[in-house]
Symmetry: C2
Subunit: 210 residues, 2 copies
DNA sequence: CCCGGCATCCCCCGAACGGAGGATAGTCGT
DNA sequence: ACGACTATCCTCCGTTCGGGGGATGCCGGG
């Protein structure tokens, strides 16, 4: 059976090139193409693809965030990141998010199909140099959260109460501040921890503080 | 300043006796009396009492559960449990939930006021025999969850997905079942873990599985 | 002196959630 | 064969959440 493929790429002409390319390969079946991370998150789960080709540089939510979320919904899916960036940080974050391969855009037209095959065979298409960095990266246990990414003291105070199971209104009463203020703090916490729900925030917070 | 007192007792005549008793003591100020745990939970936080006299044997939610929840909202409040039960298990669960003293009902009329004073002085009004058991109890690290209290395999499967931050709809898609089914499972999980929100459930689950 | 981070408060809105019902069906042990 | 536990699906309803705005005041670094 042919492997289902999804393309996520905001540039229309590039996207159409990729779509055309995938269609030339009889081992692949193109299930769809999206032009934004948000659309991809909504549409992909129902399509149950085996492979995703994801551009990193997307408007609003980037491809790395998008892959991280998709991997929660489709743990089995194989992701090939596509990008113009070659810096180590992007590579790390992409792979950390769950991507299997990392292709530079200028190589896409000639290497995409080979890379997709390699991904399916259990490989990880990328240069030896990058592979080396990857190994080293995973030896470092945790991505050191950037300075501005850490919740402020007040925000941590609120997190502590959320961990206890209090709802927002109870947190407000407890701290003697308004519900709206708590809401704002919580929004900021979500942004800093890159999550979108209380549960995710609490789990991440507990894990970070050992 | 006089210490604010709340009474929670479902039997009207007993409740009125207690109210009258507290009113005779000029060192105390009666802030209110409730006849159910649910009403108490709704009303007490706003009253900010220093002392709570709580009956264990209440309809629906019992006094122990009620105290556990109140303690989340008012960590400073001192609780004196009132009960007809003298068995070790009730005592343990009451104190575990955050109660400071434990008075048998038949002693209430003559010892309540003294007990409230003692609680405020940092004491713990109960017999030496009980105090001994308490010490031993806290040496045992955890209350072994009853057999029927443990989530079923399917429920744990769902908990695992909730820990990852998935919302109910995503869990449903992931498991190939309907949203309603997930909702039912989650309700059962809440009942077994004695919680009322996803956050509480996830935190408790993570802590129980080390 | 201005900008960024922080803390506070407010509004709107749609989606998600939690509680309380009820229902069917399969398994398992007594 | 009967009761329990489990898993599945459903409706109704009020509350809570999360995202999107915007606003003020304080403080500290550049």
């Amino acid at each position: 059976m042919r492997a289902g493929v999804i393309i996520v790429e905001d540039d229309r002409s590039v996207r159409e090139d990729l779509v055309a390319l995938v269609r030339t390969d009889e081992r692949l079946r193109l299930l769809g193409a999206f032009s934004s991370a948000e659309d991809a998150l909504r549409g992909i789960p129902a399509l149950q693809p085996q492979l995703i080709v994801m551009d990193i540089n997307l408007p609003r939510m980037n491809g790395i965030e998008c892959v991280a979320r998709l991997k929660l919904l489709l743990p089995q899916v194989l992701v090939l990141m596509l990008t113009v960036y070659e810096d180590g940080d992007s590579i790390f974050r992409a792979l950390k998010s769950g991507a299997t391969g990392y292709l530079v855009k200028r190589d896409a037209s000639e290497k995409l199909l080979d890379a997709l095959q390699e991904v399916q065979r259990g490989g990880a298409p990328m240069s030896a140099h990058i592979a080396r960095q990857v190994v080293q990266y995973f030896h470092r246990s945790e991505m050191p959260a950037a300075e501005a990414e850490r919740p402020s003291p007040r925000e941590r105070e609120i997190l502590d109460l959320l961990v206890k199971g209090l709802i927002l209104k109870e947190v407000a009463d407890q701290l003697g501040i308004s519900l709206e203020t708590v809401r704002t703090h919580v929004t900021h916490i979500y942004q800093k921890l890159h999550v979108r729900s209380r549960t995710e925030a609490v789990v991440k917070y507990l894990r970070q503080s050992q």
